[in-house]
């Protein structure tokens, strides 16, 4: 779906933000990218839909080189993006108009726009709010509208650039549920950039970035079992994994696994 080959990038001040990134994201997968501020994770994400172009190396979306300006619409509609601040990414005051923005830009016919708007809103469970003003929505609802606005391009991949960062716990849970449903049910490829380790643990694959490089890449279980390394990068592991680690029980990732491991430990002590 998305492939990068030796991608390097630096802003005009000369500091190298991405160093030699090689990455392939498979269609239908759910990948999380984690890393400290300044690790280059957002910069990398902006390469996946041609918002930024690599200084050297190449990025391919559905096999199209992102430097191919003539196919910009194809690239951007294949990889939809949702940003961090729910207020700053809304163009229109009414939910329906917001979702219609992308298909309008693509120059689609009115019936097709209507169909896409309705379908996208239904996919995120916001169809009742179609005619409401976005000012009256909660943070989680606004981000779901932003997801719908990206879905209206009928993308194969959805990139969430710290989209949960400004939400309250309830809004975060709402958005995560929506994303997982789209990934499982609609076979949508998801790239989730996040600071929250419990969100990353729900992905199929966790990519850890540090100083513009990919330093770890694997299943959440594999990545989060190396607690020492994750901590040395200034990151945390999910809470359940941390408790298990502190108790000397390696390998637990979910709350259930942690409970079972502790239970096993207590049982062993009793015996």
């Amino acid at each position: 779906m998305i492939k990068t080959e030796n991608v390097s990038f630096s802003y005009s001040d000369g500091e190298q933000v991405l160093k030699n990134i090689n990455l392939a994201i498979e269609k239908g997968s759910f990948a999380a990218i984690i890393g400290c501020n300044g690790s280059g994770k957002s910069t990398a994400a902006k390469h996946f839909n041609a918002l930024l172009l690599p200084k050297s190396g190449a990025v391919y979306v559905k096999g199209i080189d992102t430097r191919d300006e003539k196919r910009l619409f194809e690239i951007r509609s294949a990889a939809g993006m949702v940003f961090q601040n729910p207020d700053n990414q809304m163009v229109a005051a009414i939910v329906e108009d917001e979702v219609a923005f992308a298909p309008e830009n693509l120059g689609l016919e009115r019936n097709e726009i209507r169909r896409r708007v309705d379908e996208s809103l239904r996919a995120v469970g916001m169809e009742e709010y179609a005619l409401k003003s976005s000012a009256h929505l909660s943070g989680g609802q606004k981000q779901r509208v932003a997801v719908a606005a990206a879905l209206a391009m009928e993308p194969e991949c959805l990139i969430l650039d710290e989209s949960t960062a400004m939400l309250d716990p309830r809004g975060r849970a709402e958005l995560m549920k929506t994303i997982k449903k789209l990934n499982r049910g609609n076979n949508l490829t998801v790239i989730l950039i996040t600071h929250y380790m419990d969100e990353a643990a729900q992905a199929d694959r966790v990519i850890v970035m540090d100083g513009g490089e990919i330093v770890m890449d694997g299943t959440p279980r594999a990545v989060f079992s190396d607690v020492e390394k994750i901590r040395s990068l200034g990151l945390d592991v999910p809470q359940a994994a941390e408790i298990a680690y502190e108790l000397g029980l390696n390998g637990a990732l979910t709350v259930d696994e942690c409970v079972n491991a502790i239970d096993g430990l207590l049982g062993g002590a009793r015996r």
Binding site: N49, D97, E104, A149
Partner: protein, 264 residues
């Protein structure tokens, strides 16, 4: 929360809501033009009654109308006062050195009615028209200018984004003022220059945040395939219906009544 009514659309399904936005804009312009030509008290009465009837048709409450009048109350009072005290004519009565002419009273009342009618009618437009339809209508009305290379589409886009961000920035300003107040800033007292100076620490962060927001919005628009100057399609095209013809007819009857009152 700073109360700003601009761009605050009230959803509804009244005849006023369903009338085409372009028709509403044109009729509002004609309404305003007519309002500044009339002279007789009867015409003013017809205007006030018509405006009140429109407000009721739109299902807009008295309180909502007052909300849009309130921010402009000083302008109304100032205009009335200027007309009251500075109109020359036969003194109707005088207190100490101040003489008030009958013509002054007449003019002050008329100006007040005029302003109230105009504010009410224009806020009826924004209250009953979704912002997107409004900008679409402006775009459609200005489209002949596109031939003269005026970037009509971009102007309409700018207008709708402005409307969208006014409440956001108003809230932000409110938040900054509260944050500064919490740290001992004083906005309410002192002379006009002092008060203006005290606003500098509010405007500066507000500008910085506005630029940040603009940058974010630009990225979000890019990501959704917006290209300045490219042809776009529309989810809802403004379309004329028989209702718009009726709206026009109602206006013609109203205008005829006003003319008749004037010529009587």
């Amino acid at each position: 929360m700073v109360d700003i009514l601009i761009g605050q659309y009230l959803a509804g399904s009244s005849a006023l809501h369903r009338t085409d936005a372009r028709v509403k804009i044109i009729l509002l312009i004609l309404y305003a033009a007519l309002l500044f030509m009339i002279k007789k008290p009867l015409s003013y009465a017809i205007f006030a009654a018509f405006t009140a009837a429109l407000t009721m048709t739109g299902g807009i409450g008295f309180k909502t109308v007052m909300k849009s009048i309130k921010p402009l109350r000083w302008i109304i009072i100032f205009t009335a006062a200027v007309n009251l005290f500075f109109t020359k004519g036969e003194a109707f009565f005088s207190v100490w050195k101040i003489a008030i002419a009958a013509e002054g009273i007449d003019l002050a009342v008329k100006m007040t009615v005029r302003l109230l009618c105009l504010i009410t009618a224009s806020s009826l437009l924004t209250l009953t028209t979704p912002p997107m339809r409004l900008t679409d209508a402006v775009e459609s009305l200005l489209s002949p200018l596109a031939r003269l290379k005026v970037p009509v589409r971009e102007l309409a886009m700018m207008m709708s984004i402005t409307l969208r961000f006014i409440p956001v920035l108003a809230e932000e300003a409110d938040r900054i003022i509260k944050a500064q107040t919490a740290r001992g800033a004083d906005f309410g007292s002192g002379g006009i220059i002092r008060r203006a100076k005290s606003l500098v620490p509010v405007m500066l962060p507000l500008f910085i945040s506005a630029f940040k927001r603009a940058e974010d919005l630009a990225a979000a628009m890019d990501a959704r395939c917006f290209i300045s100057g490219a042809a776009r399609t529309k989810l809802c095209e403004n379309r004329l219906t028989p209702l718009d013809a009726r709206a026009g007819a109602v206006f013609v009857v109203f205008a005829a009544a006003v003319m008749a009152a004037e010529l009587w």
